[in-house]
């Protein structure tokens, strides 16, 4: 069914016009998942029955002329880091195997209220720690474009689901690039909103001061649509900001006049794959052709971003993951003598090695005598990085860069070298440290057919301008229309 290839925005129109029903669309998505997900590995849990039920009910309500929500009838996939009251939530960890949360995340409530069809929970790096989705306790997710390569991570399942036509929309979470990088590896649009734009209530915490929920879609307009549903104040998250949510789509089609795009020369230096560089330069040419001005900017402290991130994030993670102690919920081993052993054996058995590595890093960094030198110092550096961006946005509207140094890497390449994997976060991490929004949009392919994304960063709470800038590029290119060849009828 071709519906699986359409964007959410187009599908909404078709649903409204009666050209397709939600049931047909949901059945098509489920059919495609059944046919292809064994080779891709996007889903941890497919909620087939409840999705079909929801779709039917929405179709009935539509037929009865009842008012419907803004996503009425659209299947949406959820990264398994968002808690759901009617589907298990595992964070791709053995620790939470079989855990059924008693509540919905705020963003899940928003989706239900918007009449979305929740189609299932997607694969991820365990507790969102990783950049390839190979740290999943269940198995890796592959990019639908090249089944020998990773989907990226940590929201690899959601990115692959949207790319493969399993769902027109998906939610991910981004702590250091976990939406943008897999979006790039899978050739879809992925947006990390400003910290505080979307409630984290019900998002299982990895690094609380960096985590943010955001949308995956096949085009910018659909990402804007989904963001409108997700964004907004939630009194249950003290870090969620009470700012009005603009109508992101209203002016989306209007190009920004005199757009100023900042680029940082260091982003194009050593370590950047040649084909990625070409794609980014090609994208900049597109903007030049639209009358945009490209300016060099200085992000003086950007070179400390990876080091800073790998102190802040593991520190918070070591604390956030302490609750998985086998007492109240989650995995508990049968074999222990005494309380301490119950803790250590349960955690030892149920956490994967990357999670353990980060817990150890963070525990060390927060230890007495080290706190000032590591965590506190990192927080100071973080402030400097944020200040760099504030200064840069005085002279430019958005900042353009690659999303990752390379296109999707072959399975196994980064898992054996954690440091290499950490360094690959270099372009995305600063946005989380500074709290600013960022988007990855399709901007090309490598010669061997792996997608390449362009990252645009915007000023805090200016998702509207960021989306408009992204839409300008999208209108001039056809990269986002490319579809991976799963059925042997590639359209590139």
């Amino acid at each position: 069914m071709t519906a699986c290839r359409e964007t959410a925005a187009v599908l909404l129109e078709q649903l409204a016009a009666g050209a397709v029903t939600s049931l047909e669309l949901t059945e098509a998505c489920l059919g495609r998942i059944a046919a292809h997900d064994e080779s891709i590995g996007a889903f941890l849990h497919v909620a087939g029955d409840s999705a079909l039920e929801a779709a039917e009910s929405i179709d009935r309500r539509r037929a009865a002329g009842e008012p419907l929500g803004p996503l009425a009838g659209l299947p949406v996939a959820l990264k398994d880091v968002l808690v759901t009251s009617d589907q298990p939530t595992t964070c791709a960890s053995r620790m939470l195997e079989g855990w059924n949360p008693p509540y919905d995340a705020h963003t899940v409530e928003q989706l239900r209220a918007a009449d979305a069809v929740l189609i299932g929970k997607t694969n991820m790096d365990e507790f969102a720690m990783g950049s390839t989705t190979e740290n999943s306790a269940v198995g890796p997710t592959r990019t639908p474009w090249r089944l020998d390569c990773v989907a990226g991570g940590s929201s690899g399942g959601s990115a692959a689901a949207v790319a493969a036509g399993f769902a027109p929309l998906a939610l991910g979470s981004d702590t250091g690039g976990s939406i943008r990088q897999p979006a790039s590896f899978c050739g879809v649009v992925g947006l990390k909103p400003t910290y505080g734009r979307v409630s984290r209530y019900g998002l299982v915490a990895y690094a609380s001061s960096l985590d943010q929920v955001g949308p995956f879609a096949r085009d910018v307009a659909s990402a804007a649509l989904l963001l409108e549903v997700l964004a907004g104040h939630d009194p249950r998250d003290g870090t969620c900001v009470d700012e009005p949510v603009p109508d992101y789509r209203q002016q989306l089609d209007q190009p920004l006049q005199d757009l100023r795009i900042g680029i940082c020369p260091e982003h194009f230096a050593e370590g950047l794959d040649g084909e990625v560089r070409e794609s980014i330069e090609g994208a900049l040419d597109v903007y030049r052709g639209l009358g945009a001005e490209i300016r060099e900017i200085e992000l003086q402290h950007a070179r400390f971003a990876v080091a800073c991130y790998y102190l802040v994030a593991p520190s918070e993670a070591s604390s956030n993951l302490a609750r998985y102690d086998g007492i109240h919920y989650g995995h508990r081993v049968d074999d222990y003598a005494g309380l301490v052993e119950m803790y250590s054996n349960s955690r030892g058995a149920a956490f994967g090695s990357e999670v353990k590595r980060r817990i150890m890093l963070g525990t060390y960094a927060l230890s007495a005598g080290y706190y000032d030198a590591y965590y506190l110092k990192a927080q100071k550096v973080r402030r400097l990085i944020a200040d760099d961006f504030s200064r840069a946005f005085e002279s430019v509207d958005v900042i353009a860069s690659p999303v990752a140094p390379t296109p999707a890497v072959p399975l196994g390449q980064l898992t054996n070298d954690p440091l290499e994997m950490y360094l690959a976060d270099i372009y995305t991490i600063s946005a989380n440290l500074a709290g600013i929004p960022g988007i990855s949009i399709p901007a090309g392919f490598s010669s061997d057919g792996r997608p390449i994304g362009l990252q645009l960063l915007g000023n805090a709470f200016d998702e509207e301008q960021l989306l408009r800038a992204a839409a300008m590029h999208e209108r001039e290119t056809r990269w986002h229309q490319a579809i991976p060849d799963l059925d042997g009828d590639a359209q590139r």
């Binding site: 001061s209 009194p235 007492i327």
Partner: protein, 500 residues
């Protein structure tokens, strides 16, 4: 040997009486009968749940800090104190580490010295006051059957004030007095009910001594933290025991300690002894860091000033006012203040209405408190309101009622007699029904006396013959006939009539 210097510092935890918990909407209520019913994803520490600060908890905390005369921080934040324990579902407690909302402050405590019987006001300085969350409760099988341990999280997330004193306390009774005064202050502020049975006030005590060793040098004994103190008496008893134990230990080792690090001891209230617990875990590292889920909070000067203006009169000040301005005895003032703000308010209203504070105090401390105790009632539910009691006392002052009749009317009011209407109307009715009006009419009294003497010639003759006791029966008879009459007046009138 000179008497040792006793050094005591207290760490007091006070549960705030908010309607809901500190970070979620669950009820803040003592409820051990139904474990885990007052819980939600937040206080259960479920994945994805986030804390949101309870404004009232913060406001009550600031009021407590201001009443303790501490300085309120312009900016305060919350930190995670990390340790594993089954009653701590997040494996960290949200507490305050280096920027507590309140620093310094003090509490003045009046102590009576045993030897001289003198009173002295001692100022106990405070180090800090901070706001944190309480943990849940581990429930172990105490039958000895080795059953599974259980966890009740009803208490998890109860707002908890930690008040840490400087080591300024010099004796066990002084520690007891400090806690009493602190409890009163918290109760008057309506910050906490400080119910020790329900654990809403808990205390740890740090104690050591400065003694002189055989070489004549001053030596301090290792600091001992006594935990698990759940009554004021227990605090005093544990400290008394611990002071004696440390002296004994000092004598045994001549002030040379192989290990002078701080130790933790528990208090066994049954046996009346402290006992060694596992070390204070000097090795334990709480890895404090600012909780990223809770934004730091700033307080404007205006807000703090407004809260300061709203503070009630502190109980200690009120107590001295009762003595100095209202003329009460120290004892009566203390009894009234100890009953809490509602009783003190009741008393003050009665005193104001009847314009006789001493009489009002007598009535409240004796009659009212007795009735409340017998009925297990709170002052707010008491059948006689301040207006009623003041009316009654005024009638007695005006000699329209004798004190004895007044008591009878009071008892009748307590029982709800006197029908409908205002208290005055009810009192009038009770007085009329029982014929209790004081007989002020001398003609009527004279008549009565003549009648009584006429019917009791023998008693009158006996009295005239010098048997003074004989008058008692005559007085009794007149009083009974009169319904309400002042016994003194009756006695004088009787004697005058007999001798005439």
């Amino acid at each position: 040997m000179t008497s040792p210097l006793t050094i005591i510092g207290l760490e007091v935890h006070v549960q705030l009486q908010t309607r809901t918990k500190i970070f979620c909407g669950c009820a803040n209520r003592f409820n051990p009968e139904e474990p885990n019913v007052q819980t939600c994803p937040v206080c259960l520490g479920l994945p994805g749940a986030l804390p949101v600060m309870n404004r009232l908890a913060l406001e009550l905390s600031l009021q407590a800090g201001l009443a303790l005369e501490g300085s309120i921080a312009a900016l305060t934040k919350w930190d995670r104190k990390q340790y594993y324990y089954p009653d701590l579902p997040k494996a960290y407690q949200i507490s305050q580490y280096d920027l507590p909302f309140c620093q310094g402050g003090h509490l003045d405590v009046e102590v009576q010295h045993e030897e001289q019987g003198e009173r002295e006001t001692r100022r106990i300085r405070l180090i800090r006051v901070h706001l944190e969350e309480d943990a849940g409760k581990n429930l172990h099988d105490e039958s000895g059957g080795g059953g599974e341990s259980r966890v009740d999280l009803n208490r998890a997330g109860t707002p908890l004030l930690e008040i840490v004193s400087e080591p300024d306390i010099r004796s066990a009774p002084e520690a007891h007095r400090f806690l009493e005064e602190l409890r009163l202050l918290m109760v008057y502020l309506e910050v906490s009910d400080c119910n020790m049975q329900e654990g809403s006030l808990r205390c740890d005590a740090n104690v050591n001594l400065e003694l002189t060793n055989p070489a004549g040098e001053a030596v301090r004994t290792p600091i001992v933290e006594v935990k698990n103190l759940n009554s004021f008496r227990g605090v005093e008893a544990a400290l008394t025991f611990e002071i004696a134990r440390q002296e004994r230990e000092f004598d045994e080792c001549d002030g040379v300690y192989p290990d002078d690090s701080k130790q933790t001891r528990g208090w066994d209230a049954q046996r009346g002894v402290t006992f060694a617990q596992r070390g204070k875990e000097d090795a334990s590292d709480y890895r404090y860091f600012p909780d990223p889920d809770l934004l730091p909070v700033t307080f404007s000067d205006e807000y703090v000033a407004e809260l300061r203006d709203r503070l009630c009169e502190p109980p200690a000040q009120r107590r001295s006012r009762f003595v100095e301005q209202m003329g009460l005895s120290d004892y009566d003032a203390a009894v009234l203040i100890d009953q809490g703000p509602h009783t003190a308010d009741y008393f003050e209203r009665v005193a104001l209405e009847c314009q006789d504070a001493k009489r009002a105090a007598n009535w409240v401390t004796q009659d009212v408190l007795r009735e409340l105790k017998e009925r297990d009632q709170a002052i707010d539910d008491f059948a006689v309101d301040p207006q009623g009691l003041a009316t009654l006392i005024s009638l007695i002052i005006a000699e329209e009622l004798t004190t004895r009749s007044g008591r009878e009317v009071f008892a009748a009011l307590v029982e709800g007699e006197g029908g409908e209407g205002t208290v005055s109307e009810r009192i009038d009715r009770i007085v009329a029904e029982r014929g209790l009006a004081a007989v002020a009419d001398t003609d009527q009294l004279d008549q009565l006396i003549e009648t009584v003497i006429a019917g009791n010639q023998q008693a009158a003759d006996d009295f005239r013959d010098g048997k003074e006791a004989a008058i008692g029966k005559l007085i009794g008879d007149v009083m009974r006939e009169a319904g309400g009459a002042d016994p003194k007046t009756v006695r004088e009138a009787l004697i005058a009539k007999i001798r005439s």
